[in-house]
Amino acid sequence: VRKRLFAGLALSLALVLVAGACSSKKEPGSNASKPTLTLTYMGALTGDLAQLVIPGRNAAELAIEQQNAKGDLPVVLKLDPQNTGADKNKAATIAQGLKDKLDLLAVLGPAFSGESQTTGAVLDPAGILRVTGSATNPPLADNKWKYWFRGLGNDTSQGGAVDDVILKVLKKKSIYIGHDKTQYGEGLATIVRDNLKAAGGTVVGFEAQDPGKKDYSPLTSKVTAAKSDVFYWGGYSPELILITKSLREKGYKGTIMGADGSKDDSYLKGAGAAAQGAYLTCPCADPNVSTESTTKAFVTAFKAKYTAEPGIYAAEYYDMVGLIADAIRKVGATGDISTAAGMKVYRDKIRDAIASTSYQGISKKFGFQPNGELVASAVETYLYQVEGGKYKTLGKVTDIAK
């Protein structure tokens, strides 16, 4: 028995030596001996709202692949997609599982505002970094979270752009507002209502709707009867699809407007011809129409990998990974990250590097305020219009509303 044990030991020793020799032969920047750290992408990967979340997931996957291929990171990054199903309570449960995960470097997301709120309560005290490229509800920044950054403008800026669009671009006056009672939808609708009133517009109606129904005819009958110039939806696309179709069917002549939560591919597909002419705002630029070489390269790589154009928030999550990779490079040596205490020190260093970043991404040049919001110079709201079943970029609201 002893002989066999010795033989085994010798064999494994030899194997280790050979492996060591092999790895030392490789190019500098090989990833073989580096520790692997996970980036967890949290969002609704299935369900009605998945079209808002999957482009970001794919972009994150692409970005991680590219960053690892560069070979100069002291760690290897790995994507871990977590499906919240747009359920904020389920997200909180997932967060409970994440908070003690030793190899977790950061959370990409959560994608929506409600789940950002519930997971923040679990993950922030645990010192887990979250960088969202899509949750836009403003009060998220009031949580005094230390480990949370928002990589796009919030709904205060988006909602503030809506009255400019209605009064100055469309030159309309009256608006009927509906919302879906979610943290995101109701928050945005309230901001739009207050801003429009302050700017001299007329708010004809302001109504809450239960999400997840098929029949919104009481609302659409009211909007049609009220003959408002604009119908505005604060919420997500599944409801706006049904409302848009019902409004047009009832002969509503006004303009239909929505926001980033409705600006996904399923809105175009579901509402079809009824969506023609609808306006949508988003604190996100469409990378597909960019003339920047880095953005073009991203679009090409994305199309090659997923045989689809990068959809909503793809550029944002591509940048979120870039932002983290940039912080990793700045921090340099990881130190001992095999223990919980060591990992905490490393995560804090990464967090501090992001807090003081001036990273140039494909969507914007990043810089953060102490509350985790972008600096004002990085915030822009873009206006889109549905034309022939596609989103046509009309430009930055600040430019076209002059």
Binding site: G47, A208, D210, T224, A226, I241, K245, E249, S266
Partner: protein, 321 residues
């Protein structure tokens, strides 16, 4: 009169009629089954859901495999829509019969308590809606998926008339007309045919009916089939009207239709019709001058009110066609 009422009365009335017709068609299924078995078939909302899916399957098949135009017109359009309706009715009818065979008949044979039927019904409902949600392993097929499945726009939705400045769409009109036709056929079926007599006999007294030579199992099968066919038609039209089918599409209409059946008097065929239309109207007219999220509050207040003073519903219980 307040402005909201003058401008909103007719639009909300029509919305209510359309929705009420859907409720009525589903409620008839609840009430028929309750009439013969004193069972609330909670899986009935999934029978409705399957109807909307078979509607979409037929239309998609027509467009992709048979080259039906989107949108199409004339006889082709009517033929495709009729095919979708018939497919939905057959699928739902067969599913309802299958449910009775697999889920309820074994319990009936063993003389299981009422609670067992109720739990089985809820289980069957959850099973079916999840069957349309998940990817089925081995055969690797998704019947529906989590998101909505959109109807191809074979029928171009358009306003075909305007009544009191309210645009009535072709699908809305189709729903109301189908409901009336189906109801008249059902009424004739229950009152004049032999098997209809059997249904009424079983509803009044199953034991005596059996002694008089009524084949109870056959009557029950036919009852489930009839209810399923009605729900299938409702499901297909509901899906066509809103342009989508989804695994959970039956949940809300199912609960509302159950409410409607109770409102009208469960077990009572005319009560189901009355309850359905009434509930649709109450839901829509009730919010003419109120915020729309009061919809459910108002309709359930009415239900509570009716049941307080007439616990058996407006027209009373039992099949008395």
């Amino acid at each position: 009169l307040p402005e909201c009422l003058t401008s909103g009365f007719w639009p909300h009335t029509f919305d209510g009629l359309v929705l009420g017709s859907i409720y009525a068609m589903i409620a008839l299924g609840y009430t028929l089954v309750y009439g013969v078995l004193q069972l609330i078939n909670f899986a009935h909302s999934e029978v409705f859901m399957v109807g909307s899916f078979f509607g979409v399957y037929t239309l998609v098949f027509g467009v992709e495999k048979l080259g039906v135009d989107v949108p199409s017109s004339g006889p082709v359009l009517w033929l495709v829509l009729l095919a979708a309706l018939v497919a939905a009715m057959l699928a739902s009818g067969m599913l309802a019969v299958g449910l009775e065979r697999i889920a309820y008949r074994p319990l009936r044979r063993r003389g299981a308590p009422r609670l067992a039927f109720l739990i089985t019904a809820i289980g069957a409902s959850l099973f079916l809606s999840n069957l349309w949600l998940v990817r089925i392993p081995i055969i690797d097929v998704t019947l529906g998926g989590a998101g909505p499945v959109f109807f191809p726009d074979v029928l171009e939705k358009q306003r075909i008339m305007t009544i009191f400045s309210y645009g009535v769409s072709n699908t809305a009109l189709m729903i109301v007309v189908t409901m009336i036709v189906m109801y008249v056929l059902l009424d004739r079926f229950v009152t004049t045919t032999r098997i209809g007599k059997g249904i009424r006999a079983v509803a009044q007294d199953p034991e005596t009916a059996a002694m008089m030579g009524v084949d109870i199992n056959r009557v029950i099968t036919i009852t489930f089939l009839t209810g399923g066919i009605l729900a299938g038609a409702a499901g297909m039209l509901y899906g066509l009207h809103f342009g989508q089918a989804q695994f959970n599409i039956g949940f809300i209409p199912g609960i509302k239709a159950f409410t409607a059946a109770v409102l009208g008097g469960i077990g009572n065929v005319r009560g189901a019709l009355l309850g359905g239309i009434l509930l649709g109207l109450i839901e829509n007219l009730g919010v003419t001058c109120l915020a729309t999220h009061w919809q459910d509050v108002i309709s359930f207040l009415v239900l509570v009110g009716v049941l307080m003073f007439r616990p058996t519903g407006i027209l009373g219980e039992r099949v008395r066609a």
